[in-house]
């Protein structure tokens, strides 16, 4: 209402003012002369600019074609190829994300981008076999694809690259599955209620203690490494876990996802107990029968194109396992559980990777004979069982035992995530240090380096792409300022898929002072 009144009064004042404005206006008309030469001069300038632009464009397009063929040369470093001998003061040539050539007497092509690595050590990028919370934007839930959830800008990527991890095998437990697991654990008789409570706390506060059996110190509340004995895991339903392999290609989404199906990954108790083992055998049989039926169907199809295809009774992952395309990955620390897995693998004929394998040092020859590889944590401590002191519990010399028996082993640190919860020296960034503890346990430095590179690559079925410095492999290369497993060593530069993904001086994730 007010505004309408205002309008009226305003229009009145406006009528008064309009007369004066007409007076001003007529005066203004008299003053104006039509001269507009300024515009033409400006036009001439803009045409000149246009002439310049196309030249610049062609210049950039030439550069563009160059970048595809651009060769990067890392010159002067000692190259730890892993699969071959160490090349002293060698050269690595990189083109199009792959290793073009490696050796001592290699000419650097003209126009190549040269990275001086004199006095430095060059190794392939490390592979983290158990990783959580790196390179993902969120927790993938049902209906979400892993490949749509990547975050190449995650800062954990830079932190991981800073210790040399260029490839990560990710595990994802979404909130619903962890709560399910909790509920079922309570159903199984015999599980220590105290452990159950602690695990719950760990899940609730999203704190990663590394070992699920970590206890908290009664006086200070800090986590203590588990030292209790290892019992057989309680039976759990057979439910495969999600595994995916990503490259830690900081800032680049292209080439980040490597594989979404690398393991048939089961929880520790999935193959425990007669019922579980029976179900497992039945499932494998179903898969084998289906593959046979499919073969016959292919033959029948040649004769009769209308032949009905057999129905798939199991998941694609299980079929891949039976076809030995991927391995079964299962966490097994107890020696009798390990023996069970060896037996099953022999009977059912599939590849197995055993996680943990704390008591695996008791049966190295059986593991070697079955062609089973293990993923160990040399610093894990567990007490032997009473009266079985010689054949149970953890063994600091596991790495030596496996090396001499010919059991391929990979190394993971105590915790699988980048942790800022006061677990310094235990989290993912302690991976090279963990390998150093394997050397302390008696294996050679060469084997320890293999345990971070080519052995995990083989477990993942990616030995043709990653794990060593060889012509034709992905250019995932580290330039180190010291021995690979020395705790004082820093990664100076990490190259992933041929691109420099990390530089210590620029990224400032780790100290940049020279020692």
């Amino acid at each position: 209402m007010k505004t309408s009144k205002q309008q009226e009064t305003h229009s009145l004042t406006a009528l008064l003012l309009v007369c004066t404005s007409f007076l001003i206006g007529s005066a203004a008309v008299a003053q104006i002369n039509p001269k507009t030469n300024v515009q033409t001069a400006d036009k001439a300038k803009t045409t000149d600019k246009k002439k310049e632009e196309p030249d610049q464009k062609t210049g950039t397009s030439d550069k563009k074609t160059d970048t595809n063929k651009q060769v990067t040369a890392i010159v002067g470093g000692d190259i730890y190829t892993v699969t071959n001998e160490v090349i002293r003061r060698g050269t690595v040539l990189i083109q199009d994300g792959k290793i073009l050539n490696v050796g001592q007497d290699i000419d650097v092509p003209e126009g190549a981008k040269v990275i001086d690595a004199k006095g430095k050590i060059i190794t392939p990028g490390f592979i983290s076999m158990t990783t959580r919370g790196v390179g993902l934007a969120g927790t993938p839930s049902r209906g979400q694809k892993f490949s749509d959830q990547l975050n190449p800008f995650d800062n954990n990527i830079k932190i991981s690259l800073g210790v040399g991890i260029t490839t990560a095998c990710l595990q994802v437990t979404n909130s619903s599955s962890s709560s399910r697991r909790r509920a079922e654990n309570e159903l199984f008789v015999g599980l220590d209620p105290e452990i159950n409570r602690l695990e719950k706390t760990a899940i609730d506060f999203n704190i990663d203690f590394g070992d699920p059996n970590t206890a908290l110190c009664e006086c200070c509340g800090l986590p203590i490494l588990a030292t209790d004995t290892i019992e057989r895991p309680t039976p759990e339903p057979i439910r495969p876990q999600v595994n995916a392999v990503i490259k830690l290609s900081a800032g680049r989404l292209d080439g980040m996802m490597v594989s979404e199906s690398v393991f048939y990954h089961l929880t520790p108790g999935a193959l425990t107990g007669a019922l579980n083992q029976h179900t497992w055998r039945a499932n494998i049989r179903k898969a084998k029968d289906y593959l046979k039926a499919l073969e016959e169907h292919e033959k029948a199809k040649a004769k009769d194109p209308k032949a009905k295809a057999p129905k798939k009774p199991v998941s694609d992952e299980l079929l891949a396992l039976v076809q030995k395309k991927i391995a079964l990955r299962i966490s097994s620390d107890n020696v009798s559980a390990i023996r069970d897995n060896i037996e099953l693998a022999k009977q059912q004929d599939y590849k197995v990777v055993i996680d943990g394998a704390t008591e695996g040092w008791v049966v190295p020859d059986e593991l070697a004979e079955a062609g089973i590889s293990v993923i160990i944590t040399p610093r894990r401590r567990r007490s032997p069982r009473f009266a079985l002191e010689d054949v149970t519990g953890s063994n600091i010399e596991s790495s030596k035992v496996y090396e001499s028996a010919g059991v391929p082993f990979g190394i993971v640190p105590l915790s699988s995530s980048i942790s800022l919860n006061g677990l310094a020296g235990r989290d993912l960034t302690s991976l090279p240090l963990e390998a150093a503890f394997a050397v302390r346990g008696g294996c050679s430095e060469k084997t320890a380096l293999e345990a971070l590179t080519i052995v995990p690559a083989k477990m993942l079925g990616l030995q043709d792409r990653i794990g060593s410095i060889e012509t034709g492999k992905d250019a995932d290369i580290l330039i180190l300022n010291g021995q690979p497993l020395d705790y004082r060593t820093y990664v100076e530069t990490a190259i992933v898929n041929g691109h420099v993904a990390y530089e210590r001086a620029a990224d400032k994730v780790y100290p940049v002072y020279e020692r």
Binding site: T3, T36, A137, G138, G143, Q149, G251
Partner: protein
């Protein structure tokens, strides 16, 4: 509510009332410095002649017809009104809570993940659900900020409306109910699939799309795919920009406008180069991710020759209604952004992104008389808004 007062320039109103329907509305503003944001550049002591809400002449010397009302605005600067091509509004009853939501708080756009991130965002045709009268407060905010034309969107996915900032006449503010396709993208399968399927699906249906109603989402996607219409994508992080770029590779004709924060653009700058897209950011100095280093993203974009524009609605000060809306831009100019790029990013570039460069974005003959009057050089720190004309009519006056 002083900004709603109508009359400070009574001449204009009087001319409108007196000559309504009888003769042409002719008015000349003279004596001002005119930032044309065109080839003509900056004109000292120039004159703009408006007829019926359009620009009839502009220059240092303009022949004024006898029926022209003449307003002396010496000492002021006239520039084209700002063009804001991403103004999100909230409509009550539309939020199902299932998809992620874009919420404007203090003029800042936040994307809040919904209860279930797996749900695909649902398509909304804004002109079907929005009451033009409810746009009043939004339009007055924009007018006060110097925005003459806005592309109005909501959270999620849909079809925007184009509106002129005429807060006291919001019933007729909608100039184009069939606006532009917009989509909020996160790096989740659900929202990325909307983009993938939209671009992919339109191919198979493009033949039938011409027969179906011109406003259906399929025909919109078809137009987007052929490059006839732009696609405005609000991305919630730098990783999403990577996904969008990956999808865009397959569709070379698509004209994308990426709405993103300065920090996210800064992270993905290398990969935005040499791509056919535009970027819409908030004007102002940003802080580089994981550091306290200040960055001028607009300057970096200009150096990388990436087309960019500013959106007033991304600026948190929109709600606080500052007298000096161009202050953040002046900071950018002070720290190295070329002045002409800055002016263009406020006006001509967004107009081009929307495909409306023929009617908006500069002071050129034949264009709409959306003019912003300032009391000094537009990119000086203390310059305040004096008046905003939309289609020749005053919609905001500062007093």
């Amino acid at each position: 509510m002083t900004y709603r007062k109508f009359i400070l320039f009574p001449l204009l109103i009087c001319a409108m009332t007196a000559c309504h329907g009888l003769a042409d509305d002719v008015i000349a503003y003279r004596g001002a410095t005119i930032e044309t944001v065109s080839k003509a550049g900056s004109i000292q002591n120039g004159t703009v002649l408006l007829r019926n809400g359009k620009i009839e002449a502009v220059g240092s010397k303009v022949d004024l017809p006898t029926d022209a009302k003449i307003v002396d605005v010496s000492g002021q600067t006239i520039m084209p009104a700002l063009v804001d091509i991403y103004h999100p509004i909230t409509i009550s009853g539309l939020s199902s809570g299932s998809a992620s939501r874009t919420v404007v708080f203090n003029g800042r756009v936040f994307t809040i993940p919904g209860s279930s991130s797996t749900a695909a965002p649902t398509y909304v045709k804004l002109s079907d659900v929005v009451d033009p009268l409810s746009l009043d407060s939004d339009l007055s905010k924009l007018a006060r900020y110097g925005v003459g034309f806005a592309n109005i969107v909501v959270r999620g996915y849909g079809h925007s409306i184009h509106a002129k900032a005429t807060p006291d006449d919001s019933a007729s503010s909608i100039v184009n109910p069939d606006g532009t396709l917009f989509l909020s993208v996160t790096n989740s399968t659900a929202s990325l699939d909307v983009l993938r399927k939209g671009l992919k699906g339109s191919k198979s249906r493009s033949s039938s799309a011409s027969t179906s109603s011109p406003t259906s989402s399929t025909s919109l996607w078809a137009a987007v795919k052929e490059g006839k219409a732009p696609l405005i994508l609000n991305v919630n992080n730098a990783a999403t920009i990577m996904y969008v770029l990956q999808i865009q590779k397959e569709y070379d004709k698509v004209r994308m406008v990426i709405v993103a924060s300065g920090a996210d653009i800064y992270r993905s700058l290398d990969q935005l180069k040499d791509r056919k897209l535009s970027v819409l950011i908030k004007a102002g100095i940003d802080i580089a991710p994981r550091s306290n280093q200040r960055i001028n993203v607009a300057k970096l974009l200009a150096e990388a020759k990436i087309d960019f524009g500013f959106s007033a609605s991304l600026d948190r000060s929109l709600d606080s209604m500052p007298d000096t809306p161009l202050f953040p831009v002046s900071q950018l100019v002070k720290t190295g952004l070329p002045k002409d790029k800055a002016l263009s990013a406020l006006t001509m570039s967004p107009a081009k992104m929307l495909g409306m460069e023929k009617t908006l974005g500069s002071i050129e003959v034949g264009k709409q008389a959306n003019l912003l009057f300032l009391n000094g050089a537009p990119l000086d720190a203390g310059t305040t808004v004096q008046q905003l004309l939309v289609e020749g009519k005053s919609v905001y006056e500062n007093q």
